[in-house]
């Protein structure tokens, strides 16, 4: 194991998969000559050349569709959205063509494509540039959605996504790109299965479910709660869809209390689905209502303090945990 950044981890995953499989290529805005808007694809053009690392015009709908068409004949495109806020102009391609093709064609055409890029609010980018899209895409049948929180998961999930024979969205996070973590050495094949959550911290009093940018909040809060004798079990979903129900239910059966901390909007957010499944399947295990901490149901303001007030944060999580624990 060595310590690398989330950005480096993604870069390694890309390089390894492009190296391994001649059908894999990377396409998107500024991914080649510019080395990626966030430098995730740094060095790849030099190493693999313009046939495999392809710059596009600002045409998300067009190159997302191009990738899906190429996938129909067996290529395995990795399509980078500079951010998933810009995937909204390609929404029809991602939610209609990619996930429906296999059904509509009677099983003749599966679409082995990966859509990846930073998702969710970064820092003061304003309403149009801060979209957290996980709940939107997870609601679409035929798509898979993962949300790595660590360099190790970023590498392992992206590699699994590229090898998956279905459309997979890898929702990264701009604010995590420079974060560091331990990752297996390059010579060790690292594949993190889609649909498997990870218990980041064992605890007995409350289950805190998190993913992506909210994992660090949860871990921070857990440490803080420890001092107040509240033992929180932290579950990093890693994948939103498929959802690892077993990991969630096992933990809740132990703690009987749940808080979900998510980065999307509250209305029909990821936490709502998880809450539904928990109460449906293990209703009697719940000693308190499931609570959620998410963004407020407000378009993102630019001002830093107002943005902070809209985002999920440690204070809100602490309050929610105490509420379920002392309920």
């Amino acid at each position: 194991m060595r310590e690398i950044t989330y950005r480096q981890a993604l870069n390694e995953a890309l390089a390894e998969e492009i190296e391994r499989d001649p059908n894999v290529f990377l396409m998107g805005e500024e991914v080649a000559e510019y080395q990626g808007a966030y430098k995730v694809s740094a060095g790849l053009l030099e190493r693999f050349g313009p046939r495999r690392i392809i710059d596009t015009p600002i045409s998300e709908n067009g190159f997302a569709g191009l990738g899906i068409g190429a996938a129909m004949v067996g290529l395995r495109p990795i399509i980078e959205f500079m951010t998933f806020s810009f995937s909204l102009v390609a929404f029809d391609q991602v939610v209609n063509n990619a996930p429906n093709m296999f059904m509509m064609s009677g099983g003749q055409f599966n679409i082995p494509i990966t859509f990846r890029g930073p998702n969710g609010p970064a820092h003061q980018l304003g309403a149009t540039h801060s979209h957290a899209t996980e709940n939107l895409y997870a609601s679409v049948p035929g798509l898979k959605v993962c949300t790595p929180a660590t360099p190790r998961d970023a590498k392992g999930l992206l590699k699994s996504a590229v090898r998956d024979d279905n459309p997979v969205l890898v929702l990264e996070a701009e604010l995590l790109y420079s974060s560091k973590g331990m990752v297996e050495p390059p010579d060790e094949e690292l594949l993190i299965p889609l649909g498997k959550a990870e218990v980041k911290r064992e605890g007995g009093d409350v289950t805190v479910i998190c993913y992506a940018q909210t994992v660090s909040i949860a871990l921070k809060v857990a440490a803080q709660l420890e001092e107040e004798d509240i033992s929180a079990e932290i579950i990093d979903l890693r994948s939103i869809k498929p959802l690892d129900e077993k990991a969630i239910f096992d933990s809740v059966a132990k703690t009987h209390r749940v808080v979900i901390v998510e980065q999307d909007h509250p209305f029909c957010g990821v936490g709502a689905e998880i809450c539904y499944r928990i109460q449906k399947n293990i209703f009697d295990e719940l000693d308190a209502p499931v609570l959620r901490v998410s963004q407020e149901d407000i378009p993102m303001p630019y001002n830093e303090h107002l943005e902070h007030a809209v985002l999920p944060n440690a204070d809100k999580l602490v309050a929610a945990v105490k509420q379920v624990c002392y309920a």
């Binding site: 067009g62 191009l66 899906i68 068409g69 996938a71 004949v73 059904m103 064609s105 099983g107």
Partner: protein, 325 residues
């Protein structure tokens, strides 16, 4: 000049007859409620797909919109598989899961059948991208209607195809209407083909009621593309005799207009050409037509007798490699 592989014209005439009879029967079966959903007939436009397919090879890629029965039949999908698809049966070309608007046939390089206007044009560009990526000797035929050219995806796709110089022929089947909207009410241009200039893509106008003209133009372009990869645009002028879909009375156009085009019928025209040249007798033509009608009739029986996909199997069509947890 001559097409790459000139398919026998009589054979192509019988294909056009097969498409015509298939559509007539589909219309009747739709009214008998054996067919559900939306159903868009190709009657009147047969020479477009027949001519284009006659000019290319079986391993070339074909993709089109939802008015797709003719394209599948032209590609070689069996009339049985086509009719069974309309009936929603497991023996259909999309196992009864796609329906009229979503005909797919991998074996015959038919990549659909797509129902969101123009959303398949980027897919066609992707097929062409794969050809160039792999250095294959193929061409992609991407068909779409006149109504598709005002969608953003059309625009982005054409620019990408031109930028990457991909081997694709954009075939705009200009039948003058998008539902009830005539081209002049949808498009700020005297002629559609001019839009290709905005991407520096060579474009030509083709008489879509004339099988030979379509075939030869597509053949020329395909040959040029095989020599050196590039996109091309053909505005093929044609006409649909029926309404937009089964529910459209098409009251937005005059009987006279329709009659004018009927007189120019692509089947009558090719038949006349062949007869004039002594390549086809009336008896032979009647034989072809009889065979087409019989094949279509048989396909209805086949479709009726076919089974539907069992509900338990539906989950196998959500994700490749079995259902998800």
């Amino acid at each position: 000049m001559q097409p790459v592989e000139q398919r026998d014209e009589v054979e192509m005439l019988s294909l056009m007859l097969l498409i015509r009879r298939f559509e007539e029967r589909a219309s009747q079966q739709y009214q008998a409620q054996k067919i559900g959903g939306f159903c868009h007939l190709y009657i009147g436009q047969e020479a477009v797909v027949a001519g284009a397919i006659a000019a290319v090879r079986p391993d070339d890629y074909v993709i089109t919109a939802y008015r797709d029965h003719g394209h599948a039949l032209a590609r070689g999908t069996s009339v049985n598989a086509c009719m069974a698809e309309l009936f929603g049966k497991e023996t259909g070309c999309s196992r009864g899961l796609g329906g009229s608007m979503h005909f797919f046939d991998k074996r015959h390089n038919m990549y659909g059948g797509h129902a969101i206007v123009a959303a398949h044009v980027p897919l066609g560009v992707g097929l062409a991208f794969a050809i160039k990526y792999r250095g294959e000797d193929r061409v992609t035929l991407c068909f779409f209607g006149d109504g598709a050219i005002n969608q953003g995806s059309f625009h982005e796709a054409l620019n990408l195809a031109a930028l990457y110089r991909l081997p694709i022929i954009f075939i705009c089947e200009n039948n003058l209407f998008a539902m009830g909207t005539s081209v002049k009410r949808s498009t700020s241009l005297k002629q559609i083909v001019d839009r290709a200039e905005g991407y520096d893509i060579p474009g030509e106008i083709v008489d879509g009621m004339n099988f030979r003209e379509v075939r030869d133009k597509v053949a020329d372009v395909a040959e040029s593309i095989r020599k050196e990869s590039h996109p091309a645009f053909l505005e093929v002028r044609t006409y649909r005799y029926r309404g937009h879909s089964m529910s459209d009375p098409a009251s937005y156009r005059t009987k006279d207009e329709l009659e004018k085009y009927r007189l120019d019928d692509p089947i009558i025209r090719l038949r006349a050409q062949l007869t004039r040249e002594g390549k086809l007798t009336n008896e032979q033509f009647d034989q072809l037509d009889k065979r087409a009608k019989e094949a279509v009739l048989a396909s209805v029986k086949f479709a009726e007798e076919s089974a539907e996909l069992p509900v338990e199997k539906l989950h196998d069509y959500v994700y490749f490699n079995g259902a998800m947890s």
